[in-house]
């Protein structure tokens, strides 16, 4: 059992593009769920639209990388409008069911062979890196130390991702301390009271859905940036995993979603390396290596339950700030 390798992989996962992508999506959910109280269970669709918008506009229409990102983000804004207008009047659990259904519709549309020419159906999309890598200001070579040793392209994706993440966190922090943010929190606490003050609750919710959706789309783009767009990623479980990361850190906080995502991926990577290694050296005689890869997903489910029951405010959250709509 190579402890050093396991720790190195775990350390590397802390700033992996997937972690950054989750953190961005979790920030989006913090906007939706933590601050506005919208139970959006369709975050996977925002991520898929971001990633597919980026990849399709580059591969099919020959856009440059920034054009692809604008298309992905624009797509998520349109989706937020289409999703929000019929559903935002619904109560919490209704909204959850409808958003999860909408996300599944989006996934099936990307998966179907009907649009294979554009979406690659079950194979997904890849080979859209050229334009983004051409903009890489870092000279060729390998940089870094210990677990964090990547080549120029690896660093370019990570630095870009972390910059976007910092920007998103700053925007979220700035809007939540503005008067707009106070109305948003008011909607979470008591929608009717805010309505009685003459605010257009529906419009505020829609704006929140759009802003969080943009974060989600950027998360999807960063997630897909280093490798490929794979339709198997954007399943409903993705939304649940992002929720786990969000609730772990604290739903109504700025840094909670980021810390939650880092812990989520750190623990996931640690377990996915450690458990099979333990099986191989005979420490877990009752399971096979395949089974040991399943255990960590069981643990995600259990962790989600325990978090919601015993620490709904997460690691960073304030118990006084109500994070769950009644």
């Amino acid at each position: 059992m190579d402890i050093l390798q396991i720790l190195s992989n775990t350390g590397s996962s802390l700033i992996a593009p997937a972690t950054i992508g989750y953190a961005l999506a979790a920030l989006g959910l913090a906007m939706h769920f933590g601050f506005t109280g919208l139970l959006n269970m369709g975050m996977a669709a925002f991520m898929a639209i971001g990633a597919y918008g980026y990849a399709i506009s580059i591969l099919t229409f020959g856009f440059p990388w920034w054009g692809g990102m604008l298309v992905g983000v624009g797509g998520s804004l349109v989706f937020a409008l289409i999703l929000g207008i019929p559903t935002l009047r619904l109560r919490g659990d209704y909204l959850a069911i409808v958003t999860i259904a909408a996300a599944e519709v989006v996934r099936l549309l990307f998966l179907t062979t009907t649009f294979d020419k554009y979406t690659g159906s079950a194979d997904g999309l890849s080979g859209y890196h050229e334009s983004f890598r051409a903009f890489n200001p870092i000279p060729d070579g390998t940089y870094g130390f210990g677990p964090w040793e990547y080549n120029a392209n690896g660093w370019w994706v990570r630095i870009f991702g972390i910059t976007i993440l910092a920007l998103a966190a700053f925007i979220l922090w700035a809007v939540m301390r503005s008067p707009w943010g106070r109305v948003i929190k008011g909607i979470r606490e008591d929608e009717d009271a805010v309505r009685a003050l003459g605010k257009n609750v529906f419009s505020y919710k829609l704006q929140s859905l759009m802003l969080g959706g943009v974060f989600g789309a950027m998360g999807g783009i960063i997630y897909a940036l280093p490798a490929s767009v794979n339709p198997g990623v954007y399943v409903t479980s993705l939304t649940f995993f992002v929720y786990t990361a969000l609730l772990l850190g604290g739903a109504a906080t700025i840094f909670g979603p980021i810390i939650g995502s880092v812990i989520f991926w750190g623990v996931q990577t640690l377990l996915s390396n450690l458990l099979p290694a333990m099986v191989n050296v005979g420490l877990l005689p009752f399971m096979t290596t395949t089974q040991s890869q399943t255990v960590r997903f069981i643990l995600v489910g259990v962790a989600l339950m325990l978090l919601v029951i015993y620490r709904p405010q997460g690691i960073l959250g304030n118990k006084k700030e109500l994070t769950f709509v009644k």
Binding site: V98, T236, F297, I298, F324
Partner: protein, 442 residues
């Protein structure tokens, strides 16, 4: 939801008279006769191979395209002047051979010789220990789409009602739980899978007969529902946890249970005994397999008994009262805890039965089979009106028929999209659902 493995049984009308069968020459013989003439692809690169011969009434068809894929490997081959083809394939035991019907001459199609295959031009090839396998298709004169639109439509509706009744068993449970406790239970999908997995364990692993295995699976499901309520939901209710929190707990439970099934049963698909029962023609071109008929009868009987229970018995009436207004029901002397316990037991039992029926309908048992229909069940419940048991039934049948018939008009891998799209549209105009009441949407 993977629509590819969601196969329905359907019989093709063989009206376009089947005049010829492909000559089933043994592979070895045909190769010995003319080894160099077959169009060969990758034969030198790999040891294993798949070979075949495309003929119509012993006339060879040239230039027919076939695609062989499996395990990430994909290759295309065209038949030669003698209708032969041969491809080398890498190690691996299962490949899919697809014959491109568009490359067949006009008026010619691949005929479905068994009668229950939607796509007779797609076949699974198993590579045996010899490293070579023969894959031939039945080619005959006939329209490629051999069933008339009306017959297809009727057949789909019959299948849709069957599917809808099965969904209904699951949907009534979700609806009852929602009505009495306010919980949108995402783990209901795993209660569906639980029933199927228990039936599998009893009938296949223990080797008991199916007629014992299925009732036992339903009983075990009921016990599962009771223990979930006793160990998890009741303490959480007592703690006063909010409904949104409860919903997220159910999502966590759903993930944990789903991967627990995968942990113990692996990622593959397993079959219950009797899943390959013969088709029985009903009228026109409509036919149902024996298991589908039995499953329909079981669904109807269970739903009728349930309806009688809900409307006529004391505890059924109490259930409806709690659904309506729990505090008022408690104040008028109804033991709400007992009602909720009964509801969990019933919901789990019906979900378990739905799981067994879904296992026959798909067909096959997989660790995530319940999750595949969870959204359809939610769509059905929401369509009918959350919290109304009969609304859930109506919604289920609508969703079932919609899913089955929509693939006549849209690609079959988008058939769930139709149902989920309708859900969203209905919510636009009647958010409380068909049988729901306005105050429920809040």
């Amino acid at each position: 939801m993977n629509t590819a493995d969601y196969r329905r049984t359907r019989r093709k009308n063989r009206r376009g008279v089947l005049v010829a069968l492909i000559v089933a020459l043994s592979a070895a013989f045909s190769l010995m006769a003319m080894p160099a003439m077959a169009d060969e692809v990758n034969v030198d690169e790999y040891d294993n191979s798949i070979i075949g011969n495309v003929k119509l009434e012993s006339v060879a068809l040239e230039g027919v395209l076939l695609t062989i894929s499996g395990g990430g490997y994909e290759v295309e081959v065209a038949t030669d002047a003698d209708g032969r083809w041969k491809v080398g394939v890498p190690d691996g035991d299962e490949f899919t051979v697809t014959l491109d019907e568009n490359t067949l001459p006009e008026g010619i199609a691949v005929i479905d010789e068994v009668g229950d295959d939607d796509t007779p031009n797609v076949k699974e090839a198993m590579i045996g220990p010899s490293g070579s396998t023969v894959m031939n298709f039945f080619i005959g004169r006939g329209e490629r789409n051999v069933t008339s639109f009306f017959d297809q439509f009727v057949e789909r509706i019959v299948n849709g009602v069957n599917f809808g009744l099965m969904l209904g068993l699951a949907a009534i449970g979700i609806s009852l739980v929602y009505g009495t406790t306010g919980l949108s239970n995402f783990a209901h999908a795993e209660m569906v899978t639980f029933g199927a997995v228990m039936a599998l364990i009893v009938s296949v692993d223990l080797g008991w007969p199916v007629w014992i295995a299925i009732p036992l699976a339903v009983l075990l499901s009921a016990g599962f529902g009771w223990s979930l309520d006793a160990a998890l939901w009741k303490p959480l209710r007592k703690k006063g946890v909010g409904i949104v929190q409860l919903m997220i707990v159910s999502i966590g439970l759903s993930l944990a249970l789903r991967y627990t099934f995968q942990y113990f049963r692996g990622g593959g698909t397993e079959q219950l005994p009797g899943s390959d029962s013969p088709d029985i023609p009903l009228f026109g071109s409509v036919s149902l397999s024996q298991t589908n008929m039995i499953s329909m009868v079981i669904s109807i009987v269970v739903i009728v008994i349930f309806a009688w229970w809900l409307v006529k018995t004391k505890i059924g009436k109490a259930t409806r009262a709690v659904s309506d207004n729990p505090s008022l029901a408690a104040a008028s002397g109804i033991d709400v805890d007992q009602v909720v316990r009964v509801v969990w037991i019933l919901a789990a039992a019906m979900a378990g039965l739905a799981g067994v029926l879904w296992a026959y309908f798909r067909p096959g048992i997989r660790w995530d089979m319940g999750a595949q229909i969870l959204l359809l069940v939610f769509a059905a419940v929401t369509l009918g009106g959350l919290g109304t048991a009969f609304g859930a039934l109506v919604g289920s049948i609508i969703v079932g028929v919609l899913v089955e018939t929509s693939s006549l008009f849209i690609p079959s891998d988008l058939k769930y999209v139709g149902a989920l799209g309708v859900l969203i549209i209905v919510l636009l105009f009647r958010p409380q659902g068909i049988l729901g009441r306005k105050e429920r949407i809040g």
